[in-house]
């Protein structure tokens, strides 16, 4: 990773997600749901200082990528997150976990060529967890690439927080090692979204997985929202990291904080690689990223 801050536009508003108020999310969800409109917001953010797009891989975001491809001839750095937990949980609710596994296996097998089918079938037959993981990741990467085209580049593939934190809780070191190994070989930075940042770093040290070569997306905000076990512990862990590899998410604590003060807090944090911010309107895209870029530049100049 280079020294430039990552200012990524996130997709939460496009899915109608607000962790502050589900009422507000419902109201917001209807307007921002159109892929064309969302693509315009991503492009507006890029014109105003954002330098990448972070999103969960879903039918909606793949449509947004296709729309960006039509509207924009430039390059774009992508930070896709997998799996799209909401959709998988919904399928599991309707069909049970074995039903979800069967449906996913079918999708993977039908999406690939003969080689992918053979690899996927072998992984399913042997039930080798690392092979299953590789097959799944290959499937998700190919979905993104086929929608994004050649001008867009997958910089990092981020493991969703439910998977990351479940695997942390279950002490599944093999999953993290396989994930890092698989992506590193493909020149994609292994990314992890977690709401247990200090525990995540502690476990990675224990397992001898180098945190310098990965990306960690985790909540950082003045309110301490979603910063477990505490704001203080998260800040201390960040300060002790050897390299800046952390992307701050939930930076406005889901609308609880107002931008100037919220951004000031972020610029004071050491070792932050960048941030992810969602926008719902073009006006927000302009003000948010202009202000973020200015805040980080000013902070850098004052050092």
């Amino acid at each position: 990773m280079n020294d430039q801050e990552l200012l990524l536009v996130g997709d939460n508003p496009f899915h109608g997600i607000s962790h502050l108020s589900q009422e507000r999310a419902r109201a917001r969800g209807e307007g921002a749901g159109s892929p064309e409109k969302a693509a315009e917001l991503v492009l507006a953010s890029l014109q105003n200082g954002a330098n990448g797009f972070a999103f969960s891989v879903s039918e909606l975001t793949l449509s947004i990528l296709r729309s960006i491809r039509k509207q924009n001839s430039g390059s774009l750095d992508l930070y896709p997150m997998v799996p799209y937990a909401f959709e998988y949980v919904r399928i599991a609710t309707q069909t049970g976990t074995p039903g979800l596994a069967r449906k996913l296996a079918k999708q993977i097998v039908l999406s690939g060529g003969p080689r992918a089918i053979a690899t996927g079938a072998r992984a399913v037959l042997t039930m080798n967890p690392s092979s299953l993981l590789s097959t799944y990741l290959t499937y998700e990467i190919s979905r993104v690439k086929s929608s994004a085209g050649k001008r867009m580049n997958i910089v990092s593939l981020v493991l969703n927080e439910v998977m990351t934190d479940l695997a942390l809780g279950l002490n599944l070191d093999w999953l993290f090692k396989s994930y890092v190994k698989f992506l590193s070989r493909r020149k994609i930075i292994p990314g992890f979204n977690t709401r247990n940042f200090p525990f995540f770093v502690q476990k990675f040290k224990e397992w001898n997985i180098d945190t310098r070569d990965i990306l960690i997306a985790t909540p950082f905000n003045r309110a301490g929202f979603q910063m477990n076990p505490s704001k203080l512990e998260c800040e201390k862990t960040l300060a002790d990291l050897a390299n800046p590899t952390v992307l701050a998410i939930s930076i406005l604590a889901a609308g609880y904080l107002r931008p100037p003060a919220a951004f000031e807090y972020l610029t004071e944090l050491p070792n932050l690689k960048g941030i992810v911010a969602g926008v719902s309107t073009e006006q927000q895209a302009r003000t948010t990223f202009t202000l973020l870029e200015k805040s980080f530049r000013t902070a850098k100049e004052s050092v």
Partner: protein, 337 residues
């Protein structure tokens, strides 16, 4: 000498089973010892995944025998709760038992399970909303009589889980129907907030409400006249995440509470105050799913460690099953509730 850890087995490897397993495995006081699922696919995969962690993965509950378990979590579909819980007690597979909501598929079966509980054991049902900081705050406000005398409440539980799914009737039914699958949480909260109440029975739909395959509405009344209304739907548009809430009216004002916030309007003082999750110290030692799941599991494990009681116990939770059965009776329904 190290602390003796509580040996726990989890039955059911669906999303709730994995979630509890993840949280329990984090806890220093717990040793996640065994997992059980009847699906051959899940067992095969889980054996590969957990082989190095020394966790036993079995396909039959009887194989929990000999594992010296202290506690079992039952996280299977509701229709199987009674059978599994009964087996745990009758075969002495563990002393302490946690059952995901609802306790049983009927009040009669819930009552039977209450009668099987061994002495000096901890039992609990997974009504996790009690461990949410917003509902906890509302409970505190009511306990402080912030509303004066409570006269009525309106409760809702909405999701889009079966919206646009043409197989929804079948799948919702398999999960216990709208009241057992979703509405039970808000029924439990209402019982926690207001104590026991009766389901209003009437031939008039406007009075008694409705009960359909994915939705239900009904009214209740407490012996002192407090009235309540419930509205539950699993096919409500734009409820990406399930949401439950209550609006409570009292002589001094109103409280509105849901998963995100609690707001009190005190008419006697002419002011309103809102607390969001952010304001209520919502952080936990380990996050998975929602913060309330960690607090819930911590409460159960702490109750075992201090030889105390945990709430909601089987006896407390059986009241939810009783209310659901009464709604069904009030509507003369053969639906799966």
């Amino acid at each position: 000498m190290g602390m003796e850890r509580i040996r726990v087995g989890v039955v059911g490897l669906g999303k709730m089973g994995l979630l509890h397993a993840g949280i329990l495995n984090f806890m220093p006081a717990v040793r996640l010892t065994a997992l059980c699922d009847k699906s051959g696919l899940m067992v095969r995969l889980a054996r590969k995944v957990f082989s190095r962690a020394g966790i036993n993965v079995v396909n039959d509950l009887e194989k929990f025998a000999g594992l010296d378990l202290d506690a079992v979590y039952v996280t299977t579909p509701i229709f199987s709760h009674s059978f599994i819980a009964r087996s745990v007690y009758k075969n002495d597979l563990a002393r302490h038992l946690f059952v995901e909501k609802t306790l049983a598929p009927s009040y009669a079966e819930a009552e039977e399970l209450c009668s099987l509980v061994p002495k000096e054991s901890v039992n609990m049902v997974g009504y996790m909303k009690r461990f949410s900081v917003t509902f906890g705050k509302a409970k505190d406000l009511l306990a402080q009589h912030a509303l004066g005398e409570v006269s009525s409440f309106k409760a809702y539980a909405y999701s889009s889980d079966f919206m646009g799914d043409n197989k929804s009737s079948r799948t919702s039914g398999a999960r216990g129907g709208p009241l057992r699958d979703l509405g039970c949480h808000v029924i439990d909260l209402a019982l926690w907030f207001f104590g026991d109440f009766n389901v209003v029975s009437s031939a008039d739909e406007a009075v008694a409400g409705t009960l359909a395959e994915n939705s239900a509405s009904f009214r209740v009344q407490r012996s002192d006249g407090l009235e309540g209304e419930f509205d539950v739907s699993q096919c409500k548009k734009d409820y990406r995440m399930p949401e439950i809430g209550l609006a409570i009216r009292g002589s001094n004002g109103t409280i509105e509470v849901n998963d995100d916030r609690v707001r009190i309007e005190e008419s006697d003082k002419g002011k309103s105050t809102t607390w969001y999750r952010h304001d209520l110290n919502d952080n936990v030692d380990f996050w998975l799913g929602e913060t309330e799941y960690f607090r819930e599991d911590q409460h159960f494990i702490d109750s075992i460690l201090r030889h105390g009681n945990s709430e909601p116990s089987f006896l407390t939770a059986a009241k939810v099953d009783s209310v659901i059965d009464k709604v069904r009776q009030a509507h003369g329904s053969g639906l799966n509730e």
